[in-house]
Every structure is written in C-alpha cells, then in structure tokens.
C-alpha cells in the first residue's frame, strides 16, 4: 500500500513537497496507523502543510491543535492519504485508493472548491486550489480506487491540489459554505427538473389533444360524406317517383277512358259528390303523387265490392291482472309497493288482542275487515242486530277504523237507537280528521246519518247543521239539498206555530 503513493506521482516538481499524507515521510507499514480514539496527533490533514517544513516531516506536530472535521460519533475517521494526482491545463485527475472500503456515489461529496469522500471510518477531504466545475466533473469508482476527473473553471496550472494556507476557521467556513452551496445547487436542480417535467407534460397533453381532434374530424368527415350520399339518393328517388307517377297517370287515363262508358250511369251520382272537392283542391296539391282525381274513384269502387262485409259486432270480456295501485306497474317499484300494502294491512289488524274471549274465536273472526264485511252483509239482508254485533266485535279488536262506527251508526238508525247513532257518527267524524278529499264520502255519510238521527229526535236545528256541513263537503248533491230544504221548512213551521 505504501508503494502506491509514489507510483502515480507526476506533475510539477513542487508537488513533491506538497504531497499530502507526507509521501516522503511515509512510515512504511501495511496500513497507516489507525487513529486511536482521541489520538489527534496521529491525524494529519490531507492538505499539505508545505509551509511547515518538509512535507510529512512536519508530521504530527504540524497538525496538532487542528480540530478534526466534526468527528462522526466517537470514532475518529481514518484519513485516506495515499491519493495521487496529476493535471492538465484544463483538468485535474485525482486517484484515491480506498483500502478495501466499498464506495458508492453517496459517499462522495463535491462542490466548487471542496471535495470529500467519506466511507466510515475512512475520510478524505480536500479544499481545492482553485474552483472546479463540479457539475461536469466525474468520479469513477472501481478497482478499490476512485478516479476523479475534475474540470477546472479557469484553465491554469495549479500549484498544488489543495490550498496551501488553510487555517481551521477558514476550513470550517469553506466546508460549511460548500455544503450550503451544494444544497442550493440541489434545490435549483430539483426546481429546474420540475419545470422541465411540467413542460414535457404540457407538450404531451397538447400532442394527444391534437391527435384526438384529428380523429374526431376524420369521423365527422365520414359522417358528412354519408349524409350527402344519402341526400343525393333521396333526391334521385323522389324524382323517379314523380316521373313514375306521371307516367302511370297517363297510362291509367287511357285505360279508364275505355271503361268509363258502361260505368258512367252507375257511378254518376257518387262521382258528382266526390269529384268536386277533389277538383277544387287540386290546386293546393303540389305534385301529382297523390294520383288522379276522378279516375281513381272508379277503380276504388270496383275494389270495394270485392271486400268482405264488416264483421258482426261482438264483445270479448277481459280480465286484468289485479293491481291495487292506479299507476302503471314498474318492476323496480314492486318491492316498495308490497311494503306499503303490508304496512296498511298491519295497521288494520288486531290492536288489542289480549281479550280472553278471543281465544275461542276462529282466525277470520279476529280480523276486523272480515267482521266489517260480515256486518255489511247482514245489514244488506236486514239483520241489523247481527250487523251491530259484528261491528261491536270489530270495534273491540280495532277501535281506530272510522268505517266501523259509520256502519254501526247506520244500523242504529235502522233500529231507531238514535242516541247511539249520534254517538257513533260523532266518533266516526272524530276519527276522520284531518278532513281530506279522500275521506270526503265517509264524512258526508257521517254527517247525513247524524243529521237524520237529530231530526228523528226532533232536534231539527242540530240536524240542519249536520246537513249543511254535508252539503259543504259535497255541494252538488241534490238529495242532500232537498232534505236540507225540508228540514228548514220544518223549523220554520215549528217556529211559526209555537
């Protein structure tokens, strides 16, 4: 290893004395003395301290007191000193043997005037003699060696690789500066990269847009061509039709002239009736595509006689698939509709089912709807008491159905239980709030029944009130009006007489 030092030495004669790591004063040995922790004295700055006597002869003493470059952690870095370099007017070639350490690009740090290679625990630093163009300079790693090609900013021959009189603070300052500069440069580079990326993206976008536009126009052009082709065909066809018709009409006229004679007498009347409107409007007819006025009647009448007679009228009875809702059937709504119906059915079912007598009733008898229907049937047959019983049971099961009270009121009217009738009608009306168009009919009935009950109890004013309420709901009802009139007369009659 020690031999490598002098092997590549070339360049100015002065170099020899500036060789870092004290080439002359190199102590032979396989490895440089590994610096023991805390052993500052053994470290020698790679920058030659030429001024301080003969090269490495200065040895440890020269470097004493110089602070290490921010020793990483506790271990002191091992200085790599056996580098060698040569130069040309424009470039500097530096070779740094690595002593077995593996180097990656991350270990190399280079700025304009500062070069550092740090492969823990090895370290190599150099404050360069003159600024270099660090963007173009290269480092080649291989063969246990890093080979730097540094391009000088100003073509001149360097006296030495590194600056001669670099004191501690300057070094520190330079180092920091270098780091800062490097960082700035990195930032600038990223910025520049971003901008170029954006530019590229924009360009790509525009290119794709142009392509798509071209595609679209191509398709439009195709469509336009089709359209024009078809339009031409259409015109051609139309003209053909017109010519064809004209020709046909001439032909037919000739034919029919021969037929006219025998048919004239028969068709005379009909002809007169129908020809006039045809001739009158022939001016409004633009082209003769409609055919030929009077002549056509003949052929048509002839054909008529060959047609079968109209069918005998008949009716076919139709049954529809049942549907509760008046709206059209839509598959997507079926689920909702089912749910709604289900809920309606639920609402009508037994509300209070803990009556013990109910246990011996049949299933259907527990259903208020069924009971209501039973009651209706009995009312229709005249069995008013039975109907009342049915309604009673239904009410016990579900006392929220106004129709039960309504119907029971009607039964009571028939049975002349007038007070009960009034009660039931009132209850029905109560349940029929809010007054909406849907329960109009029910409310009219309730009012009428209550009114009738009042009148039969001779409480005519109350009765009239109810009739008028009914009339308000259903103004067009003649029967109601008549009845109301009657009651008014009755009231006036009693008032007069009393």
């Amino acid at each position: 290893m020690s031999l490598s030092l002098s092997r590549n030495v070339r360049g100015c004669h002065e170099l020899r004395s500036f060789l870092p790591c004290g080439a002359a004063g190199w102590q032979p040995g396989p490895w440089p003395r590994p610096s023991a922790p805390g052993d500052y004295s053994s470290r020698r700055a790679p920058r030659g301290r030429a001024g301080s006597g003969a090269g490495s002869g200065a040895g440890p003493g020269a470097e004493r007191g110089r602070a290490g470059p921010g020793a990483p952690g506790a271990a002191m870095p091992v200085w790599l000193r056996e580098h060698s370099w040569r130069q040309s007017p424009t470039a500097v070639y530096l070779s740094l043997p690595l002593r077995g350490a593996r180097a990656t690009p991350a270990n190399i740090f280079c700025s304009e005037q500062y070069l550092k290679v740090s492969i823990p625990p090895f370290l190599f630093e150099a404050v360069l003699y003159a600024p270099i163009d660090d963007t173009n300079s290269t480092a080649k790693i291989g063969n246990g060696n890093i080979f730097f090609t540094l391009y000088k900013k100003e073509p001149a021959l360097w006296d030495s690789l590194t600056l001669a009189n670099a004191d501690k603070e300057k070094l520190q300052y330079l180092r920091e500066n270098a780091v800062l500069k490097a960082q700035e440069k990195a930032k600038e580079e990223t910025e520049a990269k971003k901008i170029t990326k954006q530019k590229h993206k924009k360009y790509a976008l525009e290119a794709t847009m142009k392509l798509e536009e071209a595609e679209r126009q191509r398709i439009e052009a195709l469509k336009e061509k089709e359209r024009q082709k078809v339009a031409k065909e259409l015109e051609l066809w139309k003209n053909q039709e017109k010519d064809g018709d004209k020709y046909k009409s001439i032909q037919k006229k000739e034919e029919l002239h021969q037929e006219i004679e025998p048919l004239k007498e028969r068709k005379n009347e009909k002809m007169n009736k129908t020809r006039i409107p045809n001739e009158g409007s022939s001016k409004t007819r633009l082209k003769s595509t409609r055919g030929h006025g009077s002549c056509s009647i003949f052929s048509q009448k002839l054909k008529e006689e060959q047609l079968p007679a109209p069918r005998a009228p008949a009716t076919i009875k139709v049954n529809f698939t049942p549907r509760v809702f008046p709206t059209a059937l839509r598959e997507s709504r079926v689920a909702e509709e089912e749910e709604w119906l289900h809920k309606q059915a639920e609402a009508r079912r037994i509300i209070n089912s803990d009556l013990s007598e109910l246990e011996d009733l049949k299933e259907e008898e527990k259903n208020p709807d069924w009971l209501k229907d039973k009651g209706n049937k009995m009312f229709a047959m005249g069995d008013y008491l039975g109907a009342v019983n049915a309604y009673n049971l239904a009410v016990r099961l579900n006392n929220k159905l106004p129709v039960l009270y309504l119907n029971r009121a009607a039964c009571h009217l028939k049975l002349r239980n007038l007070h009960k009738a009034i009660e039931d009608s009132s209850k029905a009306l109560e349940l029929l709030t809010p007054p909406v168009p849907d329960n109009e009919n029910a409310r009219v009935k309730a009012h009428v029944r209550r009114g009738t009950a009042f009148c039969q109890l001779e409480l005519y004013t109350e009765g009239l009130q109810d009739y008028e309420a009914a009339l308000k709901i259903d103004p067009g009802n003649k029967i109601l009006e008549k009845d109301a009139e009657k009651i008014r007369h009755l009231i006036q009659g009693t008032m007069q007489s009393s």
């Binding site: 089709e226 595509t289 409609r290 009228p313 698939t321 709206t327 839509r330």
Partner: protein, 360 residues
Amino acid sequence: MSAVLAAERPQVVSHVQQALSYTVFDCKWVPRSARLLCLGSAARGTGVLQLYELNGARLQLLREIEKPKPIKCGTFGATSLQQRYLATGDFDGNLNIWNLEAPEIPVYSVKGHKEIINSIDGVGGLGIGEGAPEIVTGSRDGTVKVWDPRQNDIPVANMESVQGESKRDCWTVAFGNAYNLEERVVCAGYDNGDIKLFDLKTMSLRWETNIKNGVCSVEFDRKDINMNKLVATSLEGKFHVFDMRTQHPTKGFAYVSEKAQKSTIWQVRHLPQNRDIFMTSGGSGSLHLWKYEYPAQRSKKDSEGCEMGVAGSLSLLQNVTLSTQPISSLDWSPDKTGLCVCGAYDQTVRVLIVTKLNKI
C-alpha cells in the same frame, strides 16, 4: 352476437331536423310520397296536423290543420293507396278519418271511447294484406275497439273488462296475422304489464301474459303474414321479442328479452323492408337498432311431447342519442329503405337515414 365490423355497421345519420311550436305525439309518412305528417297538441289545447314535404335538406310545410281536440295518434293503415285517408285518435276519445285534401269535415267520425285514445292501428289498406279495412283503438278507459269505416257508430269488436271489475289503461294496440280474408288478430298492451292477444275470427282471447312492467308499445313484424314475431316494449328499459309461430298450451309463446336502456322504451318499429330489423326509441332520447336472429330450430318438443317455440337472439346493430327528451314516435318510410322520421318531446321532428341496411 354476430360480429359486424364497425365500418360495416349501419349508421344513423340525422338528415333534417325541424323545430315545432307544439308537442308532437305522432309522426307518420304519407305512403308513396316524400311527405310526412306530424300530429300533436298545441299549447292552447287544440289539435294540430302538419303536413311537410322533404325537399333537399329541409322540410317544407305544406299544410297546417287545426282541430278542436289534441290528437294523440294516427295511422294510414286502413285506407287504400289512392285515398290515403288518415285515421286519428284524439284526447277526447274520438276516432276520426280525414281526407287531407278536404280536412274540414271528417270522412268518418265516432266518439269511440270515454277517455283519451292512446294508440291506433289500421289494417287492410295500402295494398297490404287482404280482408276488410279495420282500425283498432286502445284507450285509457281500458277498452280496445275495432272499427270498420263502413259501419258507423258501432265497433265490430269490443274488448272490455268484465262488468264490475277494475280496468287498466290500454297503452298500445297492434294488428297482426291478417294473411287472408278471415284471419285477424289484435294485440293489446296495458299499463299493468298485461299483453293480450285477441283473435277476431273466433272473437276470443287467444293468449295473455304479463311482463311485469307497463307495456308501452307492441308491434308484429308484419301485419299481413302468419304471425311471426311480436315485439313488446315496456317501462324500465326492457323489451321482449316473442316467437309467435308456436303456441304452447300452458307456456304460451317463447320469448327473448333484452334490457337496453335505463329508461322507458317508448316505441318499436320494424323495418318494412326487412322484418328482422327493428328500431326502439327510448326515454333518454336514444334510438337502438336491433337485429333478430332465428335459432337453428324454431320449435322443439317438451317433456310431454307438446310443441314449444324456441326464441332466437338479438344483436344491437347501432345506437345513437339524438335528444334529451323521450322520442315518443317513430315511423319508417315504406318506400325508401332506411328513411325514418322520429318525433321527440323536445318539440322537434327529425328525419333520419339509416345506412347500409341492405347489407345486413
């Protein structure tokens, strides 16, 4: 799906667009001409009939007729080629047949229904098929009535609900199976998803089914042949294609269904020149062009030995979105392949050209 190259697929080209000042409910080509008819409702609550002629790249208004009630639907299906009378159904339930040359007084008029006539179809005219000319109307009052223009006031067939039963709105009607003098079938679609097939020869219900969504439009692929295919479109973007050649006693007709768009499919119209191609128009303003492919065998025997139909497959040839509002009416020109007119609820009527249909 058959592989059709993108370059070979039919293109839907918008040829002319016309903005209207009223809501257009139906648009129809006048047969044997380059003229089209738009029917609708003006803002003041009257009916409007406009006759346009396709002239180069624009529509030229030839005539505008106003009627007291808004008009919902119309058809030329039951008139002869010489007369070309238009049968219309309006919002009041009146069925009228007009001579467009003298539109002041209808040639035939009857108050057929109590509520709006939703759909109308005609058969026996235009030189297509045989048999008496008949018009069928379907209305919101739940009845479907068949009229013969030679018989006043009384329909020749009336399909109504059983007395006392609830009724459903009839949304669409179509004629079919009119291949000889006696045979005729009417298909009706209702808002509760029912499709019913009535046989007019035996005056009975021949088949019914429920497709779980309100039926917006039904059409046979051809009116004048032995029933071949029936397309029924519905709400929720679904449509069914029924193979009508084989009816199984319990299972009915085989079908294939497709869910094309998220929105209602308002109309289906078969191409007059090729009965396996049809176009559906949707509530999102889009049009889809479909092709039906027949299966290798159209019928097979089931476990009990009864004949059962086999449905084929559908492939989407093209789709295009023209508008943001539903395209409620669609009509192919019977004279020029690929020429069609569609009317949308954004108060525009568009003439479209579908190319390359002869190569399918």
